[in-house]
């Protein structure tokens, strides 16, 4: 299982990075491979490549502001799950719930 994620938030300081860490932690505890891109006050970090987006089994968006470079995800709607960063921080395992 390979999970990729993108996180962002209004201020780009706390929630963006906490949500990214929460996703990583939740995936690692299940033994999944994971990569999370952050779109915060520091700009885009750990940017997902097209290969990674294609290869991912699950794409998690944890954002409450619009994503940058969103067109990369066109065509992968069926494996995208969207959350608010706050929800992911409070209950990271929600990303796996059906």
């Amino acid at each position: 299982m390979f999970v990729v994620g993108v996180t962002s938030c209004a201020f780009g300081v706390a929630h963006t990075y906490m949500a990214a860490e929460a996703i990583q932690k939740a995936c690692k505890s299940k033994g999944y491979e994971v990569k999370v891109e952050t779109q915060g006050a520091l700009g885009i970090e750990n940017e997902l490549t097209m290969d990674e987006i294609k290869r991912a089994d699950l794409i998690v968006f944890a954002n409450d502001v619009g994503l940058t470079k969103a067109s990369r995800f066109d065509g992968f709607k069926d494996k995208i799950r969207e959350f608010g960063p706050h929800a992911v921080i409070k209950n990271p395992d929600c990303i796996f719930e059906k």
């Binding site: 300081v13 706390a14 990075y17 860490e21 006050a41």
Partner: protein, 156 residues
């Protein structure tokens, strides 16, 4: 993220441990803003409070698990800082239509004009650490500033 970076936003003067629970969020904000002002991190308590409350209107800053991360960004912040506060008991923290009983508060002071991003990086790294139970557990058991530094020095 090494220890020296953590230390640059943590400060014994802005670490408030084992204080009685606050009556409400306003009382907490007032107290911690005073701490940041007295430590020379902000030049106006009033403006900083304004920026904290502006952020509160954007979304909740209670993060679950008894943790709150209120943050204010304004030009009156002259020294980026984290005010670390631990109360002896949990108290009700109402934030943007949510409410949580909190006892660990990390109040971020972010300079309004940030050219280097250095302190944003540090604050972001601190925020990441708060996701980990072992860090939070150490913070909850912290009795001294050294304990707080030790908790944040622990990263994987």
């Amino acid at each position: 993220m090494d220890e020296i970076d953590v230390k640059s936003v943590l400060n014994e003067k802005t670490t408030v441990l084992n204080v009685p629970p606050f009556a409400n969020k306003d009382e907490l904000f007032d107290r911690l803003s005073t701490v940041l002002f007295d430590a020379g991190c902000i030049t106006s308590k009033e403006k900083y409070l304004e920026s904290l409350n502006f952020r509160e209107n954007e979304g909740p800053t209670c993060m679950g698990g008894g943790i709150a991360i209120p943050h204010g960004k304004c030009v009156e912040v002259i020294k980026p800082a984290v005010c670390v506060c631990k109360t002896t008991d949990k108290f009700k923290y109402e934030s943007f239509q949510e409410s949580d009983d909190v006892d660990l508060i990390f109040m971020l002071a972010i300079p309004g004009s940030d050219n280097t991003n250095m302190h944003i990086k540090m604050l972001a790294a601190l925020a990441r650490m708060l996701v980990h139970e072992d860090v939070v557990k150490k913070l909850r058991n912290a009795n001294t500033f050294a304990d707080v530094l030790d908790a944040f020095s622990n990263n994987d």
